[in-house]
Subunit: 459 residues, 2 copies
Amino acid sequence: MPLSPPVLDRLRTLFPGDALLTAPADCAPYGRDDSKREALPDAVVLPTTHAQVLDLVRLCREHRLPLFARGRGTGTTGAAVPLGGGLVVGFERMNKILAIDADNRVAVVEPGVLNGDLQAAVAAHGFFWPPDPASAATCTVGGNIACNAGGPRAVKHGATRDNVLAVRAVAGSGEDFRFGKATSKAATGYDLARLMVGSEGTLALVTEATLKLVPLASARATLRATYVDIETAAAAVARIMAQPVTPCALEFMDDEALRLARLHGGEAIPVAGALLLIEVDGEADALPAAAEALAHAARGAGLIDLAIASDPRDVEAIWAARKALSPSLRSIAPKKINEDVVVPVSRLPALVAGLKAISARHGIPIVNFGHAGNGNVHVNLLYHPDDPAQAAQAPACLSAVFDLVLSLDGTLSGEHGIGLAKRPFMRRALDPVAIELMRRIKTQFDPDGILNPGKLLPD
Amino acid sequence: MPLSPPVLDRLRTLFPGDALLTAPADCAPYGRDDSKREALPDAVVLPTTHAQVLDLVRLCREHRLPLFARGRGTGTTGAAVPLGGGLVVGFERMNKILAIDADNRVAVVEPGVLNGDLQAAVAAHGFFWPPDPASAATCTVGGNIACNAGGPRAVKHGATRDNVLAVRAVAGSGEDFRFGKATSKAATGYDLARLMVGSEGTLALVTEATLKLVPLASARATLRATYVDIETAAAAVARIMAQPVTPCALEFMDDEALRLARLHGGEAIPVAGALLLIEVDGEADALPAAAEALAHAARGAGLIDLAIASDPRDVEAIWAARKALSPSLRSIAPKKINEDVVVPVSRLPALVAGLKAISARHGIPIVNFGHAGNGNVHVNLLYHPDDPAQAAQAPACLSAVFDLVLSLDGTLSGEHGIGLAKRPFMRRALDPVAIELMRRIKTQFDPDGILNPGKLLPD
């Protein structure tokens, strides 16, 4: 059902000139995300002010028009895809950094600021914002908030939810509100700011966020440890996390991931059952002791080799394996299903063993790497959609992956969110009463269900 | 309106023997908290199982009986006081530590576990749970969750909300649910666990919590810095928080607090415009560099003296000023209103200056100390309730304190919560739409308003 002329008139008034897109060719790019799903919205609006967003939501509510918030479409779950049509609100023009307040360790931003632009701006003041997804250069802070984005630094500094102090937002009801202050502590009512984080645009549209900044360390050391198998690597992860020097990254790759990275990146990338990348940051004087504490924890049964680097070129070499991985994944199969499941750290060996069994059973290669310190594993199912046997197996294989994760007391997503991709598994993953409470919360913020319908919560 | 005989019969069946108290003399101790408010409940029940709590909430909902959750009554806001009568559910018998899982850095506990008992148990595994309120020896984890308790360690490790991963709970609707996993990352639906933290028993009764543990550091150094005034001390706080070595405590006392501590604790306690206590923990080898980084940041205009201690007796001497304070407060005035306001760190000087003006205007001494790194100040109004002039001024004085805090973009509470004490100020502090959204959320969890009625949210 296309937009009625009166609605289009209102939209034109609200979003003059090129702030309103209606031609399908203009709208189509706003209908896709990195899940490779797509749908054509009826129109796209590109607000520059909070007031426009408020008017937009009220208009959409009045006409029961579905409204889909969008950063830059780097999400991997389809959360920003306007399934069924409606309006996309793209936040790319609300991209101002409103304040960087070093004394209070906060930045105030509009939602369309790119994560990478924010990092560059606050680095000039000696700070960073902890969320550092691989897409940092092209993803927005608003999108990070929507899906509770993480990245390697989350092991020390938490994910997005741990680093948002306050929001300004417009609920689906057409009411706007502020919640939170530029303070790192508060016990004044239900925490509506944290409730927004991870809600994927289903409750409210965030138009401003106050972010917690962390001082940049002056030095960094990187360790690369290889192990005979994932069991001994996971035991090392547990030892590392049980001692007081928290690493600022604790990444892992399984044997298959290493094999592929080596194919692509060359023989400097080691052969092993598993690899850990361990980084620690701090004051230069304190770093040798900190690195040694981590090295001590990394040593143990199953260790093949341990290398410590602080020279930037040596660090680059250590990260080479991880960076060689993404292109190599693309080279072996045209289709990749990348899920970011989480399990308790101690269940990592059972997860990887179970994934190997699932891979063999379904004839679909599975490659695993990710944020070991959080138990957050990127499980990559690699297959040829043109191979009928593999294509037919893929859904059952994915379903088996989630069953495995849930049997290990894990959860569907650590940092990508649910969107469309994992919505069919929400009933398996969550307590039915918890889902029902979420649905009731949704109804209070968005009584007519106009915000991102068909996402996150199951039918 | 006393409990009807059929309800009493049901309660007796549910809570046999001494698990049900009905005699006023038995019930009275369960009607008080550390706000010095009190009310007599109609009965007190002391469950030992989740199933009992579930049956209890259903019974209360059926009969529209108000139900007040209680840990050990150490709260300072009246949040646990059964105003208007009804049932108190005391969690003191649900005090089991269900699991300490070192590999996954979590503990699973019942809500009645004392914070101090938990700390002792997890310390044996090399861990601590960050919330460390002054009442740790006698307060419960359930109470910590209810009010988002903090303490000195919050400056490095966050308050309770940052350290609860999962809950089991019974909503006021009589539905029980679990939410969250023993993982430090999750992006699977709205975060109901964090929503429970700080909700003061108004949404659900938490019957089990999965807590995030942190490894104990092997060494600690303590610095004491004195400054000519609060402005220069606050500037030092900003410098300390802007460099990468995060202290594990950053406490301050104003001039009046120091003067009183010295009266009680002796002349070893320095005379100064403000004092900072700065602690840093870590590996022994790394500690001198870390302490020097903090000392460097502490130095600057206005510094009178800086002392660094690592010997436990010297550390004790440094903390003596802070510890001498509480008894001295009691000695100068029988009545103390202790508010735990928060402002952005850079506003601390304006806060303290404003508090001095308010104190002079109302003729009520105000003494300030607290968690400077979080901008979280314990503002103590000291007065004689028998002095009619002071007693008459106290409410206006308190009101002026909150007006000041809000004018500095701060908030009512950092770690005590709202309860009864700060409820009259909620409309001043929060956006009306945010309050309305909280009220709607409350209605979804507790449709008949049986859980802790008259608390937290304004009328």
